[in-house]
C-alpha cells in the first residue's frame, strides 16, 4: 500500500489517501500524490516540505527527505497516543516493534525475512481456506477450542491447515490457532525490546479483531489501536516534515527541496 498524508502548519489533516502499490513505485507515488492534492484542493507547488518513508522511499522523486518507517511510525503513533512506550506494526510484508520515549524512536527490532511473522501469513492461510482476509478476525473470535499450529513456516502451515480441516476441526478454532501463531511470533520479537505500556498496535493487521485479541493474550496486556492503523507511518512522516520545516523557518534557514513537478516518471529514469 502507498499512503499519503497532507497536513498544515497547525497539524490539521488536509487529506489522506491509501492506494495499492505495484512494481512501479515512482509512477504510483505521482498518482497517489495527485489524488491527495486534489482532495485538499492544492497544487504541488503549495507543498513546503515533503518526507518519504517505507520501502519505496528512495523512489519518490519529489521527496525532500527520506526517513525510515520506524521513526515515522513512532512519531505518528505518539501524536495519537501521547503515553505510548511500545508500538508494534504488523504489515503485509514485515513486522516492527518500536520503543518510544517523548514521542521519539529510541530502539527497534524488525522481522522482514520470514513471512510467518507478518500479515502475509494470514493472507496465505486465508486463501488456503477460501475465506476473505477481512472476515478472518471476526470468525476467529467465535473459537471454542485452542488449537496449536505447529508449523513454523507459512507454506507448511498451509498444509497443516488443510490437514486440520480434513480431520474435522472447526474453522473458527483453526483461525484462532493461526492468529495465535502469528501473535506469538510477533510477541517474541517485541520481548527483545521489553514490553512497556502503553502498547499500541498498528498496520493493516491491527484492523483484524482476532489479531488484537491474540496479541493481547500473547503479551498479557492491553493494546490500543488507532482508528486508521494503516496511516500512522505517513502521519508520522507528515509531522516530521512539518517539524523540520517549522524549525528551519524559525532559525531563518532555507531547506534544500526537490523540484516540485509531478512528472510522468519512467521506470528507468
Amino acid at each position: 500500500m502507498t499512503k499519503v498524508v497532507l497536513m498544515d502548519k497547525s497539524s490539521n489533516l488536509l487529506s489522506t489517501i491509501k492506494g495499492p502499490t505495484g512494481p512501479e513505485h515512482r509512477q504510483l507515488a505521482n498518482e497517489v500524490m495527485r489524488q491527495a492534492l486534489e482532495q485538499a484542493s492544492l497544487q504541488i507547488d503549495d507543498m513546503s516540505y515533503i518526507v518519504a518513508t517505507g520501502y519505496g522511499r528512495l523512489n519518490v522523486p519529489f521527496a525532500d527527505r527520506q526517513i525510515t518507517e520506524l521513526s515515522c511510525h513512532a512519531r505518528g503513533v505518539s501524536s495519537l497516543f501521547p503515553n505510548v512506550r511500545t508500538a508494534i506494526d504488523i504489515g503485509g510484508q514485515d513486522a516492527k516493534c518500536m520503543k518510544i520515549a517523548n514521542g521519539r524512536l529510541i530502539s527497534f527490532v524488525m522481522n522482514d525475512k520470514c513471512a510467518a511473522g507478518t500479515g502475509r501469513f494470514l493472507e496465505v492461510t486465508a486463501a488456503t481456506l477460501g475465506i476473505r482476509l477481512e472476515d478472518m478476525g471476526d470468525i476467529s473470535l467465535k473459537a471454542t477450542q485452542k488449537i496449536q499450529i505447529s508449523n513454523l513456516c507459512t507454506i507448511f502451515a498451509q498444509q497443516e491447515v488443510v490437514a486440520l480441516l480434513s480431520r474435522g476441526e472447526k474453522l473458527e478454532n483453526i483461525l484462532a490457532g493461526l492468529h495465535d501463531a502469528l501473535a506469538n511470533r510477533v510477541a517474541a520479537l517485541a520481548r527483545r525490546l521489553g514490553i512497556e505500556p502503553d502498547l499500541v498496535l498498528t498496520g493493516g493487521v491491527a484492523k483484524n479483531t482476532g489479531m488484537v485479541r491474540a496479541m493481547k493474550e500473547s503479551l498479557g496486556c492491553e493494546m490500543l489501536v488507532p482508528e486508521e492503523p494503516l496511516l500512522t507511518g505517513a502521519l508520522g512522516a507528515a509531522i516530521l516534515a512539518k517539524e523540520t520545516y517549522v524549525k528551519a523557518v524559525a532559525a531563518g534557514e532555507t531547506l534544500p527541496t526537490k523540484s516540485r513537478r509531478l512528472e510522468k516518471a519512467t521506470f528507468f529514469s
Binding site: S150, N151, L152, A188, R191, R192, G194
Partner: protein
C-alpha cells in the same frame, strides 16, 4: 472392552534399563548435593577428559546439553527459548544453548537463584563452576561464557585439539597434543581443588581412570557384537545405555557390572541368532544425533524390517588402546580422550578420506556392520552434528555404493521433524537400498 497392548517391534535388551536409569539419577543427585552443601557443577560433554577428574573428587555434574534434549522431549523448551530470544541471543544459535540461557535467565533473574518449579527432572541447581569443552563446536565453549551474564561462577573451558588427518602424522605432532592435554589437565585439577577446598586423591583418580577405560572397553566389545546377522541390539538401546560410558553417569563399578551383563545378554543373542527385530530386512547406520523426542519413529521403521545396527560416531567409545605402560593417570586420561578422535586417523589416511574426522568412521561402520543404507538426520540449529552429513552421503555412495536418506529436524524445535513425512520416504528408499544391494554384489562387495 479389551484393550490390546501392541507388542513393540524392537526387542529391547533387559540390561539396557538399569543403564538408562543412571541419567535420571544424575539430576537428582546434583540437587541433593547442593542442598547438602556439597559441590555440583554444570558440565559439557568432554569425551573422557574432565569427567574423571570430577568423578574422582566426588563432584556431581549435570550436562545442560543433555538437559536441553530432555526439556525438548518433555515439551517445556519453548518458554526457555523465548527468554533467550528476549535476552538478545540470535535464534540461529544451538537450541540447547538457548534453552540453557533461557533457563539461567529464569532461575537467576526471575527467581533469584531458586530452581524453577516447572523444570523437569528436578531442574539444574546453580552450580559451583562451569566446565565447558572446545570439543565438537564453538558454541560449546562460548555458551558457558555467555552464562557469565547470569551467574557469578567461573568457567573452565577444556581444550580439545583437532588435527588434520595428514598433519597428524607429522613427527612429534601427537606428543605435542599429549603435552597440551596433560599440562592442561594438571591445571584443571588445581583449579578444581581451589574451588572445592579439597586436594585430589591421586590413587582414587588412578582407579577412576582405569575404571573409565575398562567400562568403555566392554562397551566397545558390546558394539562389536552388533556386526552379527541378524543384529542383536538396536540403536535405541545404544542411545539409552551410553550415558554411563560417555559421561560416566552414576557409580563406575556398578556401570562396569551392568555393561558386563549387557555383553552377556548380547553374546547370548548372537549365539542363538536372535535379532533385535523379528525380521531384519535392511541394516541401517544412523548419523548423527537422534531425534530424542520422537524415538518411537524407529519402532515404525522396525515394523518395516529396518534394523539400526550402528550409529552416531560422536557417541561411540574410543577404539581400545594399550595404556597399561602409562603410569601418570593424567597422561592415561589424555591419551584415552584423544583416542576418541584419532583412533580412526591411520585408516582414514590410508584410504585418503580427508573430509573430516567424523566422516571416515561411517565408511568403516557401513563396511564392517554391513549396512544397506544410511539414515542421515541434519539438525537446523546444530551445525556441527550436521555439516559432515553431505560428505558422508557422498563418500558412502562413491566408495561403497551405500545410499543415504536425509530427514531434517532440530535438537529442540520439535516442529521441524515430521515423522509422517519421514515414513512416507521409507518405501521408496527401500527400493533404493535393494537396487544398491544388487550393485554392490556386481561390484564384488560381500554385502
Amino acid at each position: 472392552m479389551v484393550v490390546e497392548k501392541k507388542k513393540k517391534t524392537i526387542n529391547r535388551l533387559k540390561s539396557m534399563y538399569p543403564l538408562r536409569a543412571k541419567v535420571n539419577e544424575t539430576y537428582l543427585k546434583s540437587v541433593e548435593a547442593i542442598q547438602a552443601g556439597k559441590p555440583a557443577v554444570w558440565g559439557m560433554l568432554n569425551f573422557y577428559y574432565g569427567d574423571p577428574i570430577l568423578k574422582a573428587m566426588d563432584i556431581e555434574v549435570v550436562y545442560p546439553e543433555n538437559y536441553g534434549a530432555i526439556a525438548a522431549a518433555v515439551g517445556v523448551a519453548q518458554q526457555y527459548l523465548d527468554r533467550a530470544d528476549a535476552e538478545g541471543f540470535p535464534t540461529h544459535l544451538c537450541g540447547y544453548s538457548l534453552t540453557t540461557l533461557g533457563y539461567a535467565t529464569r532461575m537467576m533473574k526471575e527467581l533469584k537463584g531458586q530452581i524453577p518449579p516447572e523444570a523437569p527432572f528436578g531442574g539444574m541447581p546453580k552450580p559451583l563452576f562451569l566446565m565447558s569443552s572446545a570439543a565438537i563446536c564453538d558454541a560449546r565453549y562460548k555458551w558457558f561464557q555467555a552464562l557469565g551474564r547470569y551467574m557469578d561462577v567461573p568457567v573452565w573451558p577444556l581444550e580439545a585439539p583437532l588435527p588434520g588427518i595428514k598433519e597428524f602424522f607429522i613427527e612429534g605432532y601427537y606428543d605435542q597434543m599429549v603435552k597440551l592435554g596433560v599440562k592442561h589437565l594438571r591445571d584443571f585439577v588445581a583449579f578444581v581443588e581451589g574451588m572445592v577446598g579439597k586436594k585430589m586423591d591421586w590413587d582414587k583418580l588412578d582407579k577412576t581412570a582405569n575404571l573409565m577405560i575398562e567400562v568403555n572397553r566392554i562397551w566397545h566389545e558390546v558394539n562389536e557384537l552388533r556386526k552379527a546377522r541378524p543384529c542383536p541390539m538396536h540403536s535405541r538401546d545404544f542411545w539409552s545405555a551410553m550415558p554411563a560410558a560417555l559421561f560416566l553417569a552414576g557409580d563406575l563399578e556398578d556401570s562396569l557390572r551392568l555393561y558386563q551383563d549387557m555383553y552377556k545378554e548380547v553374546k547370548d543373542r548372537v549365539n542363538r541368532h536372535v535379532g533385535t527385530i523379528p525380521d531384519e530386512k535392511y541394516r541401517l547406520v544412523f548419523a548423527e544425533l537422534p531425534p530424542w523426542h520422537s524415538l518411537g519413529f524407529f519402532d515404525k521403521l522396525a515394523e518395516r524390517g529396518w534394523n539400526f545396527v550402528i550409529e552416531s560416531v560422536g557417541y561411540h567409545p574410543p577404539i581400545p588402546m594399550d595404556l597399561s605402560k602409562v603410569s601418570d593417570p593424567l597422561e592415561r586420561i589424555t591419551k584415552f580422550s584423544l583416542q576418541f578422535l584419532v583412533g580412526y586417523y591411520e585408516d582414514a589416511q590410508k584410504q585418503n578420506v580427508l573430509g573430516g574426522t567424523t566422516a571416515y568412521p561411517y565408511l568403516k561402520y557401513a563396511t564392517e556392520w554391513k549396512c544397506d543404507g544410511a539414515l542421515l538426520h541434519p539438525l537446523i540449529s546444530c551445525r556441527s552434528a550436521s555439516t559432515h552429513l553431505p560428505y558422508v552421503s557422498d563418500m558412502l555412495m562413491e566408495k561403497l555404493k551405500v545410499p543415504s536418506l536425509s530427514i531434517e529436524g532440530d535438537i529442540v524445535d520439535l516442529r521441524l521433524f515430521n515423522p509422517e513425512d519421514a515414513l512416507a520416504k521409507a518405501e521408496p528408499f527401500e527400493e533404493t537400498m535393494e537396487y544398491y544391494r544388487r550393485m554392490r554384489k556386481e561390484e564384488g562387495f560381500d554385502w
